[in-house]
């Protein structure tokens, strides 16, 4: 998702100026955090990137409850979600808070290898989280140590409208043949088989993940994400063959690169498209009263006998290495991570709770996802969370080009391979 910050300047020096601004912004943020003159140890500072008003309210409520219980002051500094992605790099170096929100997996590892997140394995052990977290624990683990706590999870897959499928007599596709057949009937009903808006690039990454996980499986997929397999490797041929076949069969909504996922979601909501490949947050594109019509289906099987692997991305919360009050941060995290507090927080986001002892959700989509996750053999996170950010940007751009000009496949893959060789040297 694009952030809308301006960075132009007459003299073309905006890289430095931008850094200066980010630095200044962080300094101001840090100054505002430090300003209440409370003795050290008596305060926990949090930088949050939460966009939703409900989530912010839950965090504020938990913080207030913690203050009332312990007398320790909790200061929350809310930042814009997209701006935070840039700011974190400077505030982890200068003016770190005690706790910050981020994303697990490779995005977390970026900071772990630079020694910017604190090892919190002790907290995980103290709270006995290992059995309660299960599969999500691996998302915050590097070399056997935990560097964060997993937060809301998103299970990616196909979403459709129950009423539309019931009315047309369709069933969610289980195989590739059924997928093509559904495409045919959707088109003859005047609908796009699958809504996809690629203006922000990332939806193409998810679609690639699904094809690759179904065709090559998790291990080979992760090897590609880690830069160990070439983009020109023959294992990717069936992936792009399948994709090309779908493109040529007009499977995707036309002109996808002119709009983002919200508009694609609206196409699904307005019954102009039959399917969409996304996470449970697709419901925000639906009017409240129609949300119970949304249903989830796994991406169809492409190679028979392949175990079921899915994209399951997990947000996370961390203690920066340079935090002033690491003990206080651990204590607050333990409180915040208690099943009832965490449950409320995750529920406000519509995500999947990371620990298995959270109270059951009132959201049917979340409960389905929790059940589905139990059937999954293994998980990746998402293209732009699993691979290097530099590689991800070029990769998703290449995938977008492929969706529009599939005949350029060779050039695109050659270019991606060049990028891979540069990034993973």
């Amino acid at each position: 998702m694009t952030s809308m910050q301006k960075g132009s300047s007459i003299l073309g020096a905006s890289v430095s100026r931008r850094r200066l601004l980010v630095g200044a912004g962080t300094a101001i943020a840090a100054a505002s955090l430090f300003s209440p003159a409370v003795a050290k140890g008596g305060e926990v500072k949090i930088i949050s990137n939460l966009g939703g008003a409900e989530q912010r309210a839950v965090l504020a409520r938990v913080a207030a409850a913690y203050e009332a219980k312990t007398g320790v002051k909790v200061v929350i500094n809310n930042m814009d979600h997209e701006a935070h992605k840039t700011a974190i790099r400077s505030y982890l170096a200068v003016g770190a808070p005690d706790i910050c929100f981020w994303f697990s997996g490779n995005r977390m590892k970026t900071f772990v290898v630079r020694d910017m997140f604190d090892d919190i394995s002790d907290l995980v052990a103290r709270e006995g989280l290992a059995d309660k977290l299960g599969v999500t624990l691996s998302a915050v683990t590097v070399d056997g140590k935990q560097y964060g706590l997993p937060m809301a999870g998103i299970l990616w897959g196909l979403f459709y409208r129950k009423d539309v499928f019931a009315e047309k007599g369709w069933a969610p596709p289980k195989t590739y043949a059924e997928m093509l057949a559904l495409g045919q009937s959707a088109r003859s009903a005047g609908m796009a088989p699958m809504a996809m808006g690629t203006k922000e690039l990332w939806p193409t990454g998810g679609f690639f993940d699904h094809l690759n996980l179904r065709i090559n499986g998790l291990d080979k997929h992760m090897a590609l994400m880690e830069g160990k397999v070439a983009y020109t490797d023959p294992m990717l041929k069936p992936v792009f063959d399948t994709w090309e076949e779908l493109i040529k069969a007009d499977f995707f909504s036309p002109n996808g690169s002119s709009f983002g996922w919200e508009q694609a979601g609206a196409m699904l909501a307005q019954k102009k498209a039959a399917l969409m490949d996304l996470g449970g947050f697709v419901q925000s594109a639906f009017p409240k009263e129609e949300r119970d019509q949304i249903a989830y289906a796994p991406f169809p099987e492409l190679v028979s006998g392949m175990a079921r692997y899915e994209d399951f991305s997990v947000n996370s919360i961390h203690i920066p290495k340079k935090a002033a009050n690491k003990e206080g941060a651990r204590d607050f995290l333990a409180f915040f991570y208690a099943p009832e507090n965490l449950g409320d927080f995750i529920e406000a986001e519509g995500g999947i709770p990371p620990r298995n002892d959270c109270p059951p959700s009132k959201d049917a989509l979340v409960n389905t996802a929790v059940e589905e996750l139990k059937k999954v053999k293994g998980t990746a996170q998402y293209y732009d969370r699993d691979t290097d950010p530099d590689m991800a940007q070029e990769g998703m751009k290449g995938f977008q080009e492929f969706t529009i000009k599939p005949e350029r496949r060779e050039q695109i893959l050659a270019r991606l391979e060049k990028t891979r060789a540069r990034v993973f040297k």
């Binding site: 694009t2 890289v15 690169s257 508009q263 940007q393």
Partner: protein, 293 residues
């Protein structure tokens, strides 16, 4: 003694007055420029250690097909933005007449200048939307297939430049309106006595008096074209697949999304050189004009 001191003070005072501005300009602009050039010789992710690679970033830039796409798009922006001064002049002449209601028309033409360019980009993004955009509705009304201007690599840059021209033309119009208000009535009167009217009056009496303003309008348009960034970020994010990227946007993308500050700085330096060349030419022309009086 005091008179010596006073004379000294008089000599220093201009420097004292300039000092705050010079300091600010020095740190925010000059120092930043120098630092950018310095960073461009490094491999740096914006956080960790910087690694000196000499001209490595520039060597990569020369071999990067995306760089040439950006450069080409910058040239398209530059060429089309040259339309802004003449169009602005035409509009200024149109709305400079004493007709009832012209004030409203004038402010309507002025409006895009008040809007943030992000807003302009968003509005045009909607106009171009192939599903519900104004353009699609118009084309459909004539029975055509709505074009997806922003999804086609061949049309996308032109579509964005058109959106960018809207406020730029308004800006030029305002400049020329100010110029038209400053016309010497003596000269016009003299021209009228000599029988000049219509096109001849405009060509030989009005236009020469607008040279200075035209020059400013040209400079503003060139700079506007080279710094184009926000419209692209809002309308296409450089897409589809980087085909609407310009140098400023590529620099942003590389630094912020790909964590490659060194490479971004190298792009910034190239953009800086292009702008510096133009600004040098501009200052030379300015000087010459001033010397002529």
């Amino acid at each position: 003694m005091t008179s010596v001191w006073r004379r000294q003070l008089r000599r220093i005072s201009p420097f004292l007055f300039i000092l705050p501005g010079a300091l600010l300009f020095g740190t925010v602009i000059l120092l930043a420029c120098v630092e950018t050039v310095y960073i461009s010789f490094h491999d740096w992710d914006g956080m960790g250690a910087m690694r000196w690679i000499g001209f490595g970033n520039y060597a990569e830039l020369i071999a990067d097909p995306q760089f040439y796409v950006s450069l080409k798009n910058n040239l398209i922006w530059l060429a089309l933005f040259m339309l802004a001064p003449p169009l602005g002049l035409a509009l200024a002449l149109l709305v400079n007449q004493q007709i009832a209601g012209m004030r409203i028309v004038k402010s309507l033409f002025f409006m895009p200048l008040v809007l943030a360019s992000v807003t302009v980009g968003l509005v045009f993004g909607w106009v171009y939307d192939p599903n519900f955009g104004l353009l699609a509705l118009i084309v459909q009304a004539f029975g055509g297939e709505p074009p997806a201007l922003l999804s086609d690599e061949n049309t996308v840059t032109y579509a964005i430049v058109l959106a960018g021209l809207w406020p730029q033309v308004a800006f030029c119009m305002v400049l020329f309106l100010a110029g038209l208000n400053n016309l010497s009535s003596d000269l016009i009167g003299a021209g009228r006595v000599d029988g000049a009217r219509g096109l001849a009056m405009f060509r030989h009496v009005v236009l020469p008096q607008l040279t200075q303003v035209s020059f400013i309008a040209l400079a503003v348009s060139v700079i506007g074209a080279l710094r184009s960034f926000d419209m692209i970020a809002v309308m296409t994010a450089g897409g589809p697949f980087g085909s609407s990227t310009v140098l400023a946007y590529q620099m942003y993308e590389q630094s912020i999304f790909s964590y490659r500050f060194g490479y971004g700085a190298a792009i910034a330096t190239v953009l800086f050189v292009i702008m510096a060349a133009f600004i040098t030419w501009y200052l030379l022309m300015m000087n010459r004009m001033e010397r002529r009086g």
